[in-house]
């Protein structure tokens, strides 16, 4: 199988590391060779962060390059737009509609672009946008946005729900499991 690519993008501190851990676990259990690449350090301090998940028969590079992503999973709208150049021509974006102003917008040096979902669609991208923050809060914690997003992503995967839940169980501490299961279901069935 040709290597498939998933990018998880967002703002430092939003929980992308747990999402990539869960995906990595799921894909390993499915028998794929998997590489996951993260960036630590300074960019974690509220900067734009990206995690690459690649899987297939044999994965060489741990990076995803321009025009290569089958999926972009985004915690934040502006970040989905920032990483759009990495999407495959027929790739799918799954994004939360949450907007977080970056410092240049806060200081007034730049404007937060409007109608990003429409603009990305106009550029030919398939975009599935939903208010993951509201769904996470409904599940019981605003921190569960990552799992809501994965629930949504699971929609596009030929992997059974029970396998996702098994991976969830493997990476989430027991006391948060019920909450995260709920978040996953809310994302999957939204």
């Amino acid at each position: 199988m040709k290597t498939k690519n998933i990018m998880i993008v967002g703002v430092g501190g939003q929980g992308s590391l747990l999402a990539s851990k869960l995906l990595g676990r799921l894909l390993l259990d499915e028998g794929y060779d998997v590489k996951v690449s993260e960036v630590h350090g300074m960019s974690q301090r509220g900067g734009s962060v990206v995690t690459y998940v690649r899987y297939g028969d044999r994965v060489a590079s741990s990076l995803i390059d321009l025009g290569e992503a089958d999926f972009i999973v985004s915690f934040e709208l502006l970040e989905a737009a920032r990483w759009l150049p990495y999407l495959k021509p027929d790739g799918q974006i799954v994004t939360s509609t949450q907007q977080i102003d970056p410092m240049p917008v806060i200081t007034g040096a730049a404007k937060y672009p409007e109608n990003l979902v429409e603009k990305m669609r106009a550029a030919g991208a398939k975009v599935d946008a939903l208010d993951c923050l509201a769904l996470a809060e409904e599940a019981g914690s605003s921190k569960a946005v990552n799992i809501v997003l994965l629930g949504r992503l699971s929609h596009y995967f030929g992997v059974g729900e029970e396998k996702w839940l098994a991976a969830l169980e493997a990476v989430v501490p027991p006391k948060f499991l019920e909450l995260n299961k709920k978040a996953f279901a809310l994302g999957r069935n939204a």
Partner: protein
């Protein structure tokens, strides 16, 4: 398994029992993972030089030892390294160094491979987690059989990528009792003169070993028009792009090099190409052999490579992707909401101070809107450079220039600069930003926190007592959440006619034990939209419809913004009158 975790696993399996490191992205997790093995004693040393010397002492004492650091840390540890090359080791000694091409979290992107050649020690370079584990074990064997410290070179993409590994059992290394050997271990001229030829002979023997070593392998390819020499993450990009099309010489040891193997490989292909990140290190070595090749004439000297970049430079097809016409505002890293550094930097900006900075989260004090830092060089440089700046400019500078340095960075190499101020007498004001942790690298303990790497109680250095002992009569502590106190402290210490230290003390807002106040809110009636609160660059505050607005998910109620408001518009428990 994360590349760094794989190195730690390799240390465990190799029977390594002492690890002394200083944290630095992207190397930090090697030591954080190693500490999870009860069989390995691990510690954070105050700096990389101390860490490497500690590891050396442990290897002398008969235990396999490891020392981890980032690329710039090796500059600090270079002094012991160059002479350890002469003494050799007793039990195995491995130094893990992680480069940061692309500068994800670094002040430069120097190429550590030069150190292997300069210090005349072997360097192994894994290309994924499986090799990271395997090479870590091999490094100890090489260290003991060739009597040399061994460098294990990582990079961001190997350190911070997870891939599949095969684990094994821990094996007990050979017994290496310490034996007094003055000729080998006392490097004064008479002995060192006799050790140098040993080093040169060792490099020759290692180069012979490299000729047949499995880690330097030729992968055959059908199309012999091009042959590629590569290593590390660059190898993965080449494989991604070319698959099995062209022959590849994949080097697992990048110093010393297998000259015969390289010559044979070169002779078997029409065009030789070296694909490597940063400097043309392998390329230079090949050119010294008189080989014609292509390399840095095509590939960049700066930044990371990637599969598209490799494809483009080799003239192969690749994707380019689409973009929106609209400009996407950048999202640079910022000081967190509630960061204790913010209030202090606001005070320095307000007082129009010239701020010489250092390495840590607080380097973000240089970013707009605070823009309150004018120099950052390397660990500890703020303190020493302040002294030089004041000596150059005299009283005019002394009354408005400060150094800012974090608690961990101060212990790393700020103390010696402070000694220089005390000794050579400049009227300098040094501000220690004591957030009670090593923040940037992800919360490591340090000698001022009172806890060791496992979080157990440990020795605690008293910063105030230390500064006083060095001869500073003026040492004062302020709370950076209290803007009036910060302002007083900065004004008074700059005006004082003697050197001084201000300790700006409050724990990092991200520390789990820190209790936060409830988030503030804005009374829209009272807010006049004057943007006074926007001057501190807090990510939790933005302007919506001409009024300040607080993001309750980010705000930790520190109340710094409330102290700037002229209209009493901030409400909430965090407010301080």
């Amino acid at each position: 398994m994360l590349g760094n975790a794989a190195v730690a696993r390799g240390l465990y399996e190799a029977g390594c029992s002492v690890v002394s490191s200083y944290p630095g992205t992207p190397s930090t997790e090697i030591t954080e993972e190693a500490v999870k093995f009860d069989e390995i004693y691990c510690e954070w040393a105050p700096n990389e030089k101390v860490a490497l010397e500690t590891a050396f002492g442990a290897c002398l004492g008969g235990k396999r030892a490891f020392c981890g650091m980032k690329h710039v840390g090796l500059n600090v540890a270079a002094d012991p390294l160059f002479t350890m090359s002469y003494t050799g080791v007793n039990a195995g000694l491995v130094l893990g160094v992680a480069d940061d091409a692309g500068m994800h979290s670094s002040q430069n992107e120097q190429d550590s491979r030069h150190y292997a050649r300069a210090a005349k020690v072997p360097m192994l370079e894994p290309s994924d987690s499986a090799e990271a584990l395997q090479f870590a074990k091999l490094a100890f064997e090489l260290s003991e059989s060739f009597d040399t410290p061994v460098l294990l070179k990582m990079c961001t993409r190997v350190s911070h990528s997870q891939s599949v590994v095969e684990t094994g059992e821990r094996t007990a290394p050979p017994e290496k009792p310490y034996e007094k050997n003055i000729a080998k271990y006392v490097m004064m001229p008479g002995n060192a003169i006799r050790r140098h030829p040993v080093v040169e002979a060792r490099t020759k023997k290692l180069a012979e070993w490299a000729e047949t070593a499995e880690i330097n392998r030729i992968e055959p390819g059908e199309d012999k028009k091009l042959g590629i020499i590569t290593s590390s993450t660059s190898y993965q990009y080449v494989k991604e792009v070319c698959g099995d099309r062209f022959p590849i010489l994949k080097l697992g040891m990048v110093w010393p090099l297998p000259e015969k193997k390289i010559r044979e490989f070169a002779a078997s292909v029409s065009l030789l190409c070296v694909v490597e990140e940063l400097d043309g290190f392998l390329e230079g070595c090949c050119r010294e052999m008189g080989l014609a090749l292509t390399g840095k004439d095509v590939f960049p000297l700066e930044g990371e490579l990637s599969q598209n970049l490799v494809a483009e430079k080799l003239g192969l097809p690749h994707e380019t992707g689409r973009t929106l016409e609209e400009p996407i505002p950048a999202r640079p890293p910022v000081m967190c909401a509630g960061c204790p550094h913010r209030g202090l930097f606001y005070t320095l900006a307000k007082n129009k101070c010239t701020v010489l900075g250092d390495i840590g989260c607080y380097t973000l004090g240089a970013v707009a809107p605070l823009a309150a830092m004018e120099m950052t060089l390397c660990m500890g440089a703020s303190v020493s450079a302040l002294h030089g700046f004041n000596k150059a400019q005299g009283e005019a500078a002394e009354s408005r220039t400060v150094a800012v340095i974090g608690d961990s960075t101060f212990m790393h190499s700020g103390m010696t600069g402070l000694a220089n101020i005390a000794y050579n007498q400049s009227n300098s004001t040094v501000i220690i930003l004591d957030n009670s942790i090593t923040g940037m690298t992800g919360h490591q303990q340090n000698p001022t926190t009172g806890y060791n790497i496992k979080g157990d109680p440990a020795g605690k250095i008293d910063l105030e007592a230390l500064c006083r002992a060095m001869g500073f009569a003026r040492v004062r502590v302020v709370d950076p959440y209290d803007l009036a106190a910060c302002d007083r402290a900065v004004k008074e210490e700059l005006a004082a006619k003697e050197p001084s230290v201000i300790i700006s003390r409050r724990p990092c807002a991200l520390l789990k034990y820190v209790r936060h106040k409830p988030p503030l809110s804005v009374d829209a009636e009272k807010c006049k939209g004057c943007k006074s609160c926007m001057r501190i660059g807090c990510p939790a505050i933005s302007m919506r419809d001409g009024k300040a607005c607080i993001d309750a998910t980010q705000c930790v109620g520190c109340g710094v913004c409330a102290q700037l408001c002229h209209f009493d518009a901030f409400c909430g428990a965090g407010k301080e009158e």
